[in-house]
């Protein structure tokens, strides 16, 4: 029986397969190059037109604009959430009149642009000034900030009602039947069985709705509310410096990205029992 006396020397590893230089790689590199060029260009532009006085003058007003945007969105989302409950109920009830009213409400606010609704409230309600003065609401509707809050609340209530309705209807029938089989009363079944499952479905659309509201709130700048966009426009109209818009863009992007990541984290946290 023959056997090897010496071990074979270790072979060098095979040469790495040449990666083909595909067209998609060429395009990808080119696009990354474009982004790099754009960011370098913007950086140079900002460095070129940078002045500490401008920063000291308009920096605080940007921050106050940011605060206005955030409070406006926060209050309107919360109030809209409360208002959305009866609307969602109306959308799901068997009562023809109620469901028709809720449907029309939702259709109107989802079918027309937010900016048109805002104009309708801010400029349009001026037509009814005598009546509003009679009931003492004119001092509220005279204020652009309140008009924006009012419009946003009504608008987001329509969207949130649809989110809620969709989520509740996405819970399978068997869950209702299971609760009924256990002899649970309707109310307990809704709050302990249906709603917790519906809220997990509704979580992501709610996050998207808040992001949409942050982005949509930029239009209040047109009706003289000095939110982030309004401050930007004011600063731009005084300095004619384009970098104001770029700063606003950065701030908006940061806000949206923080919210998006926060929401992703909440979602993974809340659905960890569903992970297989």
């Amino acid at each position: 029986m023959s056997h090897a006396e010496t071990m074979l020397p270790a072979l060098p590893p095979p040469p790495e397969a040449m990666k083909r230089y595909t067209i998609s790689r060429l395009i990808g590199r080119a696009l990354l190059g474009v982004w790099l060029a754009v960011s370098v260009g913007i950086f140079l532009f900002i460095v070129d037109s940078w002045s500490p006085e401008k920063f000291a003058k308009y920096g605080p007003s940007f921050l106050s604009g940011l605060r206005v945007t955030l409070t406006l969105v926060a209050i309107s989302v919360i109030l809209g959430g409360i208002l959305s409950l009866p609307i969602a109920y109306g959308r799901m009830t068997k009562n023809k009149v109620l469901s028709w009213i809720a449907y029309c409400y939702v259709y109107f606010f989802r079918g027309t642009p937010l900016i048109t609704q805002l104009f309708l409230v801010y400029y349009g309600l001026g037509t009814f000034r005598p009546y509003l003065e009679a009931v003492g609401l004119w001092s509220l509707f005279k204020d652009a900030w309140f008009c924006a809050l009012f419009t946003f609340t009504l608008n987001t209530a329509a969207y949130q009602a649809e989110i809620l309705r969709g989520a509740i209807e996405s819970v399978p029938r068997g869950q209702h039947e299971g609760a009924a089989a256990l002899g649970l009363p309707k109310g307990v079944a809704f709050f302990k069985i249906i709603l917790p499952q519906a809220m997990i479905v509704a979580l992501r659309p709610y996050g998207n709705e808040i992001i949409l509201m942050i982005k949509g709130s930029a239009i209040v700048a047109i009706v003289t509310v000095f939110d982030l966009m309004g401050e930007t426009r004011r600063a731009f109209s005084r300095t004619y410096d384009f970098q104001m818009y770029l700063w606003a863009a950065v701030l908006y992007l940061i806000m949206v990205e923080i919210l998006r990541n926060l929401w992703a984290w909440i979602e993974t946290r809340l659905t960890r029992h569903l992970k297989r």
Binding site: Y107, I115, F119, G124, T127, A218, Y245, L253
Partner: protein
């Protein structure tokens, strides 16, 4: 040749004026609002608002193909194996989905103006350069639409099983043909509801372009409101016109959906 073109365009405008739903011979404003503020012609605002309606609709319709085509290629890039391509397109969608549409519009409008000004200055032309509001609106809305559209198409691509591509290979179709004959028809069917939502959002976003001076529905009704001091009526009309656009497009989309699903019914 030019005479033929002139004749053709005059015929087209004549037909358009006949079937004009607002100020034509059988238009709503002509029939029901003759002696009111909405009358057509010099006495009322009917024809101005009708023109605004046309501009809003044409802006949305012109933006749609740009956004769809751009979005399709971005969706293709996003599922490519090439890392740099994915990174570049992800930056694009993150930026344009995160920015408010109004801000995108301003950045495009003023930014293009600055760029054009500098280019003209470099070529030796000194003077004011103005960017057309319609074009700026088309670019800004098209970019935003393409960013959202790529997400919708990407998830539709993911819903198509691998076996469909393999079947295309097995039949000896090359990649373009597999895409055109096998993947695209299914893609349209899956993505249509999402695209319908995006189209509605696009229609609503066109109202923002009035801010940079495009005479669309909102701007025309706003001028009418300022002049006549009947703000509530005119902005209600603006809302109503947008609702009509939304209704018409939801009818079109449900018809489209039926049409793309026609093969499923027969099965």
């Amino acid at each position: 040749m030019q005479a033929a073109f002139a004749a053709l365009s005059s015929i087209v405008s004549w037909v358009a004026s006949i079937i004009d739903p607002m100020c034509g011979p059988i238009g709503i404003f002509r029939l029901f609002a003759q002696d009111t503020l909405l009358a057509c012609g010099d006495t009322g605002w009917g024809d101005e608002i009708a023109h605004g309606f046309l501009i809003t609709a044409s802006l949305a319709i012109c933006t749609l193909p740009i956004g769809l085509i751009l979005g399709f290629f971005i969706a293709l890039a996003k599922q490519s194996e090439e890392k740099s391509l994915r990174l570049a397109t992800n930056i694009y969608t993150t930026i344009f989905r995160g920015l408010p549409e109004l801000l995108t519009l301003f950045i495009v409008y003023y930014g293009l103006q600055i760029v054009a000004q500098q280019m003209m200055a470099a070529m030796g032309y000194e003077g004011p350069v103005e960017i057309n509001a319609f074009v700026a609106g088309m670019i800004a809305l098209g970019v935003v639409f393409s960013a959202y559209c790529s997400e919708v198409l990407l998830s539709a691509f993911k819903a198509i099983p691998r076996g469909q591509y393999e079947a295309g290979d097995a039949l000896g179709l090359h990649r373009g043909k597999t895409m055109r004959l096998i993947i695209l028809p299914q893609l349209v069917r899956i993505a249509l509801p999402g695209l319908g939502n995006l189209w509605m959002a696009l229609l609503k976003d066109t109202a923002l372009v009035s801010v940079i001076g495009l005479p669309d529905i909102l701007r025309q009704t706003g001028i009418a409101a300022r002049v006549t001091k009947n703000a509530f009526e005119f902005f209600s009309i603006a809302c109503l016109l947008f609702l009509i656009l939304a209704m018409v497009s939801s009818l079109v989309f449900s018809a489209l959906e039926r049409w793309t699903k026609r093969a499923e019914g027969a099965r």
